[in-house]
Amino acid sequence: MRISVWVNERHRSVDVEEHHTLLEVLRDDLGLTGTKECCLVGECGACTVRLDDRVVDSCLVLAVEADGASVLTVEGLAHALDDDDLPDLGTAFLEHGAVQCGFCIPGQLLAGHDVLLTHRHPSRGQIEEGIAGNLCRCGCYYQIVDAIEAASKMERDDFPDEAPREETNLPQPPVDQ
């Protein structure tokens, strides 16, 4: 079946097998191998992508279900963060030592991005809940939570190239930090 999807803001028209998952099509048909294949039962979160306005495990979504939808993968995340005037989550991960082997990081970044979109001032508990569906076998959870927390506290001025936006329902930097 031919599907029409927006992947990282680029329109793609792809012939897919009905029994292939979104994960398989992203990796094998579109060559976007940043999204990782791991448990294939929705427990590890390595395959996390954003489908329209929600994060999902792409191993549990058929590619045909994404017909007409927008998909954001880790390859498009830096651009999406920039577009939405959100902090540079990737740099925060590096600065806080949140990355060891790196395999889970694409999923962790998408989950962290979702935390930033959902909560203006996320508590550590909300961040922990936000990444509860993303396993890290290196055990970097504290550093990952630190990185997302630090990103949530960054000022918008950290993005000198971005013009400030007037209207937004996206998270605002906390006033007391």
């Binding site: 079946m1 009905e18 029994h19 998952t21 294939l40 929705g42 979160g45 999902v56 279900e65 509860a132």
Partner: protein, 275 residues
């Protein structure tokens, strides 16, 4: 995954005809968080997968009508948790929905799918049983309603007939103040299947309702007319599997009593707060 045909019906009639035509060779796809796992491990081998998410009747929707809250079959756990009416009238349902899987799972998994999958450990099943929910079912012969208590048969088996499709859940809105609570036991904090699930409500007239799951082939519900509820009689229905890897029968039966007492205490506190 084995190849299958994918159908995306645009009307309910078309969906029901497809299900009727293909019978047990067809599988309904809503959130997919259970189905796709079983397609991949080949415990299910349908020739047709019928994706119902684009039917108008399945669009996420929660509305109150004639004293009932009607939750459409496309409503996800995330939708449910965010709804002010569910939060006000059915807080135990929010509690159960919010501990299912992860955000990624709750963004896809539907409340109706959680019932149709008929796992004895389904977190929302005892809560809906406790609140007295019914399912709206559509088939070639038209629409019927079935009490959730009559729907569950055993693990993975329901009274849904071939060719039938669940389109909504209806939950009666309490007419007098009630307090309700959900509790569960898992092996670890976070993303896990329950070893015991428990839902309890108590209303201003002193009537207690209880439902529990994961201690037998299906969840069970009980109700008292007032006075002290006969909890030991109710707990006697539990028959946990001796072969489950999640917990031993002895542990489950002990925790069933602990959770029952705790949830009842929480429900009473909430009733006092509501009154």
């Amino acid at each position: 995954m084995r190849p299958f045909a994918y159908a995306r019906p645009e009307t309910l009639d078309e969906a029901v005809s497809l299900l009727d035509e293909h019978g047990s060779d067809a599988r309904v796809l809503a959130g997919g968080t259970d189905l796709i796992i079983r397609l991949r491990d080949r415990t299910l081998k349908p020739t047709v997968v019928v994706d119902v998410k684009r039917l108008a009747e399945f669009a996420p929707s929660i509305s109150d009508l004639d004293g009932k809250l009607r939750i459409s079959a496309g409503t996800t756990m995330t939708d449910l948790m965010a709804d002010a009416k569910v939060q006000r009238w059915f807080p135990a349902l929010v509690e159960a929905a919010s501990i299912i899987g992860s955000i990624q799972i709750r963004n896809r998994a539907t409340l109706v799918g959680n019932q149709c999958n008929a796992s004895p450990a389904a977190d929302t099943a005892p809560v809906l049983l406790m609140y007295g929910a019914s399912l709206v079912v559509v088939g070639l012969g038209g629409e019927r309603r079935i009490a959730l208590d009559d729907f569950f048969v055993r693990s993975g088996v329901t009274n849904l007939q071939p060719g039938e499709l669940v389109t909504a859940i209806e939950v009666p809105i309490p007419e007098i103040p009630i307090g309700s609570a959900f509790a569960r036991r898992t092996r670890r904090r976070g993303h896990d299947l329950a070893s015991v699930t428990m839902a309890v409500s108590v209303d201003a007239a002193g009537r207690v309702r209880m439902a529990y799951g994961s201690v037998g082939p299906r969840p069970w519900a009980f109700a008292s007319d007032g006075g002290e509820p006969p909890l030991e009689d109710w707990f006697a229905r539990a028959a946990p599997s001796p072969t489950s890897m999640r917990a031993s029968p002895d542990y489950r039966l002990a925790m069933l009593r602990v959770l029952g007492q705790r949830a009842l205490a929480s429900a009473r506190v909430r009733l006092d707060a509501a009154a």
